[in-house]
Symmetry: C2
Subunit: 236 residues, 2 copies
């Protein structure tokens, strides 16, 4: 944990927090921090700074916090991702949070296994836990928003055009002929298919909505590798 993520409920006064959960155990056992030590802290959806440990025991850690820096800039990206298998989704949520992606739509498509939608990973609390791990890793506090869209057609036809208005619209597609740009660094909606790809009809629907089909080359990557590779290459 490179940052201790503070919730509003942790604050017992404007500049003092008391932690009594996993973070308390992490500070004591993993970081081995003692009273007088300072740690990097950040308040959820707010500023970053330091926390000076003023007291600790196995049940509780109290810190005086001084939060005066902005978190790293968010990426100007809306990511639309076919729901990956649950085990992979956990890691992808962490990676996306650490990379600075703030708008994530998880959508259905033909090759998404129906059972994935019943996974516990999609419970709000679980999603938030994995996002928090990514934020703590990257020293960020701005919690990404994750939207679940169980029906491909209504989402792509009714919501996606609005999301993509005045933005670069990219469909990552291994079979495409044009190459994915590098260092685009402007407002973008990026759509990524499931393992096995979108079916032709889905590709056509997206192309009809103004998405340009683009490849990173002849190599077909696992979704979790492709997500990081694409984000890292588009925003430099």
């Amino acid at each position: 944990m490179n940052l201790i993520l503070l919730e509003d409920r942790d604050f017992i006064s404007p500049d003092r927090v008391r932690l009594q959960d996993d973070r308390c155990r992490h500070i004591i056992r993993v970081l081995g921090a003692k009273p007088g030590d300072t740690l990097v802290c950040g308040r959820k959806n707010a500023k970053i700074g330091t926390g000076l440990i003023v007291s600790e025991n196995m049940q509780s850690v109290e810190m005086e916090v001084n939060l005066d820096q902005d978190p790293p800039a968010p990426l100007p990206l809306t990511l639309v991702l076919s729901l990956p298998r649950p085990k992979m989704l956990k890691r992808i949520l962490q990676s996306l949070a650490s990379l600075g992606v703030k708008e994530i739509f998880l959508i259905n498509s033909r090759r998404v296994e129906k059972s994935f939608w019943d996974s516990g990973v999609l419970l709000q609390a679980d999603i938030e836990r994995h996002l928090a791990l990514g934020l703590c890793q990257a020293r960020d506090t701005l919690v990404p928003r994750v939207h679940l869209k169980r029906f491909f057609s209504p989402f792509v036809k009714e919501e996606l055009p609005e999301l993509g208005r005045n933005k670069k619209r990219i469909l990552a597609h291994p079979k495409a002929h044009s190459f994915c740009p590098v260092g685009l660094n402007s407002d973008t909606v990026l759509v990524i298919g499931p393992e096995g790809g979108f079916i032709d009809l889905e590709v056509q629907t997206l192309v009809n909505k103004g998405f340009e089909s683009m490849t990173m080359g002849p190599r077909i990557l696992r979704v979790e590798t492709a997500v990081t590779a694409l984000v890292s290459r588009l925003f430099t």
Copy 2:
């Protein structure tokens, strides 16, 4: 599996293979392929093409193969990576193989846990299995070479200078001031530290050997995310 990786021992004649292991089960059960179907195949460290299934039963699949295309070009990269924790290493080996990295040095450094060196993942057979998964994913046949270097100083002082001769030498370091280049696309040796980073002395040793310390920005990424992000950004 986007490609069936063929070993020399699979060939029962110059253009015919017989598979009797996991690949046979994969072809029948997962791909649901039948006699008359063709699959993308490639011979280890050689060409890629198609395999026409001529017979199958639950114990064996025979294919007539026609391998006439080159595998995708390797990246001009030598990756030097502090040994990650075993569970992460499996995924990293797969990702690196799928991204086209062909020279991988796993090295020790101060913050690498000693126990990682005793992991079964480092057995040659296990390494090869994870690399093969990455190659099959990316439709590649060229097996990366993985070198294990248990001692930091002798490796960095005696072997690394030779490896880096006439190449761009980059040390990925979150605290660096210069930014990691994008689309470098030339011969490069890239060094990546462990979770928690190299200690100052190690950084200094690498800098003394001509490595330029470079960052991707204020976000600290997990090693597996950083590896993919760096490779994807350097080679476009």
